[in-house]
Symmetry: C2
Subunit: 347 residues, 2 copies
């Protein structure tokens, strides 16, 4: 295996509405410099994979609405490395299309498929894990997913249950579990049989296209027609469409400080906290009797907060959102209400 | 009495720190269009008194730091109608100076002294009351203060206790009471002997200058030296320096929808509320499970709030303040902390 057989597909087409109001329809979270660190999540993700695969082997697949954002933020990409989805069709059609595209370039390709909005805190461990995974899928016709050792009974993530069956350090998957209720999540963590489903996948291009051909032939056939077939593909996730149904799915157990920045709550879990467990993103703050909050205010702004516990305070541009941190699943409802009552200006 | 004997002194020199972050050191609340109605509190106050006294008889007394703000906001004022205090010395020196100034212009002047930041909801009743009061002080050498029939046991206002002794509809004052504790405030309201001290005063210029001469000769003598004496005057309020000590103080009982916009809480009491008792000042809001809050966001901004009860949310410019409404007396502490820790930029 030479590294020129290794490819990466960064999925950057999501709307990120659960991160509203920071994430906006015309600029979702992957295009934001979320931590005020000078790089957007997409740029951080790209730089991370550049250390693992040749730059010209990295593809970004996104909605056509975000074409300019991708070009601006990753100016080093050739136009041919940007795949533009004409419509939103979730991850299965997206991955099928990218896989066919890469197969035409290199029929021996090993592919990493990764979302653009994950937080990776330990990069060295991450790179090592990915390289080990690439090695595995280059020589074994398995679908590999990265499983994260759970540090808490998180109800916002999906879980993977492993079997005893191993190939080297890679465990065969027994089953995938959708976001569980707390009592189950607690049992999962204690069992040591369950791992967080990171949503980062590795496979050889043959293996994934075989899986599509066997399990979702309707997608495989549509995409041979090229971009035109995309719109008529079913709206379905790779997890539901392929991973939960395939027989050859393996897990690599990892520990590289991973968080899916899917929600504000996940950000609170992932980031350093003050003594009262408040997480502060950008901005200046003075806190009095405040506990366990997540606070995001724009750079240059000061937030003086008193008497808040378990709240999200997100102030940006023309929107201020304050809600109970536990109720953040209702953010989508707020966004929907805002859209209906006030129009596009605020979503 | 002709109306040309009637004068008005608008006091517009306060810092308004209890209204931070809307009120800023370089632009206190009287200079703000607080309700997004197109006029600042000072402009509203000026327009109100223009209906009662000749425009050229209205004086604005303010700190020298706010000279330009007054000139900008009241461009119809002649420069001679703006009295600039070289330092902050509370209301007694301010009123003594303005009184001497007006006496030189018209020794028969009847003067209304009024803060620039009061909310008057029923203007017709207000004008009628002031005219009646002016008539009284033109013919009777009394210090007249407007007392407001209390609608609730407010602990943020001072109270005036009346005697049975009357001149027409004007009651002689028994005593002034500083901001009371709740249990006393309740008794006051029930007694029907106590009225809110509005801080709006009426008197003939002779009467007030006699009072200064008798009760605070040190101020009277200093101010004959003109502006130079101002700085060496004691820092003392008219209430404490004169009203509580004079023997000839009368109250006119009024009911014109008055509120001292001294604090956010007073604003909450004064303004119309939604069904959940939330008061919204400017901006767009979507509220979920929110009760009894006061919410101020800039025009054009949207606040989506969930699960807040009894809070103040004040978002403006480069500061966001969220605190329990009952704890707003600590706003001064926050402002102080901000000044020390972050400097002038935010105060």
């Amino acid at each position: 295996m030479t590294s020129s057989n290794n490819y990466c597909v960064i999925m950057a087409g999501g709307i990120g509405s659960r991160f509203w109001p920071y994430s906006r329809k015309n600029k979702p979270k992957q295009f934001l410099d979320f931590f005020g660190a000078g790089q957007t999540l997409l740029q951080l993700t790209f730089d991370r994979y550049k250390k693992i695969v040749p730059q010209e082997n990295i593809f970004v697949i996104t909605n056509i609405a975000y074409e300019n954002l991708v070009k601006e933020q990753l100016s080093e990409l050739d136009e041919s490395q940007i795949l533009l989805e004409p419509t939103r069709r979730n991850t299965a059609p997206c991955i099928a299309w990218a896989s066919q595209h890469i197969q035409q370039l290199n029929p021996d390709a090993n592919i990493i498929v990764a979302p653009a909005d994950h937080l990776i805190l330990k990069e060295e461990e991450f790179i090592e894990a990915i390289q080990k995974g690439l090695e595995f899928v280059a020589h074994s016709p398995q679908l590999l997913t990265l499983g994260i050792k759970p540090s808490r009974p998180e109800t916002g993530y999906g879980y993977i249950q492993i079997t005893d069956e191993k190939q080297g350090d890679f465990y065969k998957v027994k089953t995938f579990v959708e976001k569980p209720q707390l009592e189950f999540a607690k049992i999962f963590v204690e069992s040591e049989e369950f791992y967080w489903n990171s949503g980062i996948f590795l496979w050889n291009v043959h293996t994934i296209l075989d899986a599509f051909g066997n399990i979702m032939p309707e997608i495989a056939s549509k995409l041979t027609a090229g971009e035109e077939g995309f719109t008529s593909s079913p709206n379905i996730s790779i997890d539901y469409g392929i991973m939960e149904k395939a027989e050859n799915v393996y897990v690599q157990i990892c520990n590289f400080g991973w968080a899916d920045l899917g929600t504000w709550g996940s950000l609170h879990e992932a980031l350093p906290k003050d003594q009262q467990k408040n997480v502060i993103i950008k901005g200046n703050t003075l806190l009095y009797e405040c506990k366990n909050n997540i606070i995001a205010v724009p750079k240059g702004k000061l937030a003086v907060l008193q008497g808040l516990e378990d709240y999200l305070v997100a102030d940006t541009d023309n929107v201020l959102l304050i809600c109970r941190k536990d109720d953040e699943s209702t953010i989508r409802r707020y966004v929907n209400d805002v859209q209906i009552k006030l129009g596009d200006e605020f979503v």
